[in-house]
Amino acid sequence: MQSFGLIHVEFLAWAALWTVGLSLIAFVGGGLLGFVVALARVSGSLAVRAAAIVYIQVVQGTPLLILLFLIYFGVAVAGFSGVPAILAAGAGLTVYSSGFLAEIWRGCIQSVPKTQWEAAECLALTRWQRMTRVILPQALRMATAPTVGFLVQIVKNTSLASVVGFVELSQAGKLINNSIFEPFTIFVTVALFYFALCFPLSTWSRSLERKLNVSRR
């Protein structure tokens, strides 16, 4: 039997690219969807607000694993069999990220002082202009650090995509282990890969927090 070597590390590196790809899909998709949900969450209409709250509660209250199963098998039940794993995993992670990003951003939007809304309102700006020209630019400043911080969660949670047959970093580790059975070496290596992806992100998040907090508020 072959032992753990360079070829396995190469395989893991290749799988890490899929982890990065899946993270990007989840972040971009979840960001777009989450932005819409965040706006709905602070909408003037009670019905829209309530719908956003229900969406966030349901998504945050469902384990990502179950979310992935639901989408993977749900789509099959709906008559589309053979969904590519990346689509199912991407969709599941998108929904998951949107639920959390929406709530992070809702907090940032609402932490812009009420007096800013009032000042914009008294200048006869429409609700949309108030939001896009006055509130969101200020909320963005506050949102940057926690958003980058949440990216770390996304990267780590892509490991669950293996349950729908997607070969990313964790699944690749499992596959190697099935053939050479050196779990400790393999999974320490896998963990190092995750750390190499996440550490720069959390460092970046912390430096953003320092920078954006100190300067203009």
């Binding site: 007096t115 800013q116 000042a119 008294c122 200048l123 006869a124 700006l125 202009q129 400043r141």
Partner: protein
């Protein structure tokens, strides 16, 4: 014909409560074109609330308010058209911290009145020179002193060419020197014929500039008159208030 000229602002028997707390208890007064009305009174007398009601920032439970032809008490009031006619300046300036002074001023004219960037920039320069701050156009609010920020806030309101300006304790957060520079700007506006209502603790300014003084006490208009009323108060409450205030 001046006697038939309808007032710019007219409050009639206005009632307003926050929950069980009665803040305005039948407030009535008029402000005519070009008049400068100073609302004075202790903290909690309802003067700021009265001002906010005039701009529909608060809703009232009873009574009528007419401002520049808009019926504020009407639930169908179009707030945006009202705010094209009425400017307001707040105690805490409320400039937009992410925009430069010039951008703060250009925002509403470009968004609301569809002015081009160039037109809005000219307008910004004009209103800034009016408050003596042309040199600060490209600075951010945090780089300015409180007095300068408040003058920018006034300029930002002026850029909308309001028919009426409201000032809500605009100098309360400023030291005496900075207060002076803001009051000077307001005095200029008054001389130019701007209709103004100000909630203020600056008794000397009210006496000198206001054509009408409204003394509020416990949610009611207790005494009204010209600036001279402050030298000869008719009620013990106003007498006590001025005694404490000076």
């Amino acid at each position: 014909m001046s006697s038939t000229l309808s007032p710019v602002v007219s409050l009639s028997n206005v009632h307003k409560s926050f929950g069980a707390l009665k803040v305005l208890d039948g407030v009535s007064f008029d402000v005519g074109v070009g008049e400068v009305a100073a609302i004075i009174g202790q903290s909690g007398s309802g003067k700021s609330t009265a001002l906010r009601c005039i701009n529909a920032l608060e809703t009232i439970q009873q009574g009528t308010i007419h401002v520049c032809g808009h019926a504020i008490h009407d639930p169908a009031l179009d707030r945006r058209t009202l705010r094209r006619d009425v400017g307001i300046v707040f105690q805490s300036y409320n400039l937009f911290p992410h925009l430069t002074v010039e951008q703060n001023i250009m925002l509403a004219p470009t968004c609301v009145k569809a002015l081009s960037k160039a037109e809005a920039r000219d307008l910004a320069r004009e209103v800034l020179s009016h408050v003596g701050l042309e040199a600060k156009a490209d600075q951010y609010p945090e780089q300015l002193s409180g007095g300068q920020q408040q003058r920018v806030a006034i300029a930002r309101s002026l850029a909308m060419r309001p028919k009426l300006m409201l000032f809500d304790e605009v100098t309360s957060a400023l030291d005496p020197q900075l207060t002076g520079e803001v009051l000077k700007v307001m005095e200029t506006l008054a001389r130019e014929g701007m209709t103004m209502i100000l909630v203020t603790h600056e008794m000397a300014f009210a006496r000198k500039v206001a054509s009408k003084v409204v003394y509020m006490h416990q949610g009611r208009v207790w005494e009204t008159g010209t600036g001279a009323m402050l030298d000869d108060p008719q009620t013990p409450e106003l007498r006590a208030f001025i005694g404490n205030g000076l």
